[in-house]
């Protein structure tokens, strides 16, 4: 692995961990909010820690790209949706999802100032940010076509998708 590839490999590994941690955090969050399991401090701590892990891995994924001399992305390219012409739609999905995860995730620590009820409504959009991350990984991820990635993604994302579908189902039925 050369120096250039070092950053590239680090970014990819960071992205994989961010996606896995986000999927597990969403699963834990849906388990808490969906009353599938008794409300416990432990599950809340797992959810919070996985969320913080996601943000750390996301930072590694994003900022390692700056060191990659081949793809040559600028700070604006990696932080502003559609700033880069490199696969701009998938990049924008990832950047938007990343910002949403960061803002919605860290808003937990300002929930009393925001108002707990309002914060809970906002927090639901975390699932959308997670879905954008999955779209980004599948659409643009270098590892998306590989079997280990597909197995790992299915293992962490399918339970969360199932729980999300169960959560959304009553709302959809009530609306019709």
């Amino acid at each position: 692995v050369t120096t250039d590839q070092l950053f590239w490999v680090t970014s990819r590994a960071g992205g994989i961990v961010a996606l896995a941690a986000a999927s597990l955090a969403v699963t834990a969050g849906l388990l808490m909010g969906g009353r599938f399991v008794p409300r416990s401090v432990d599950l809340r701590v797992v959810h919070e820690t996985l969320s913080l892990t996601t943000l750390a891995a996301l930072a590694v994924h994003v900022f390692a790209l700056l060191g990659d001399g081949f793809i040559n992305l600028s700070l604006a390219d990696i932080l502003i949706p559609f700033a880069s012409s490199y696969q701009s739609l998938w990049m924008a999905a990832g950047i938007t999802g990343g910002w949403m995860l960061t803002i919605l995730g860290l808003s937990y620590y300002a929930r009393t100032r925001i108002g707990v009820a309002r914060w809970r409504k906002l927090h639901r959009f975390t699932a959308l940010a997670w879905l954008l991350g999955i779209a980004h990984a599948i659409g643009q991820g270098t590892d998306a076509g590989t079997l280990p990635f597909a197995i790992a993604l299915a293992a962490v994302a399918l339970p969360a998708l199932g729980l999300l579908a169960m959560r959304l189902a009553p709302a959809t039925e009530a609306a019709t």
């Binding site: 050369t2 590839q5 961990v17 401090v41 432990d42 820690t49 750390a56 270098t142 590892d143």
Partner: protein
Amino acid sequence: MASSSERRETARQALAERARRISAIRRRVFAGALAAFVMAWSVIAWSGSMGATSAASTTSAGTTQSQDEPSAVTTGQS
């Protein structure tokens, strides 16, 4: 009946136990994430796959290259 100092001590022990449990959960989650990162990094580096080379596209740098970052073979890197 327990005195107020005994109740305080019991409560203090319960809080300490909870803090220990929370700290252990955090350590395990962070350790798991770190292990996953090292494993992902090793698998990617070991496989030598630096990206697909099937589709050509133009990057922001204005150079023609593959869909993803090409492999060391295609870039001439070792």
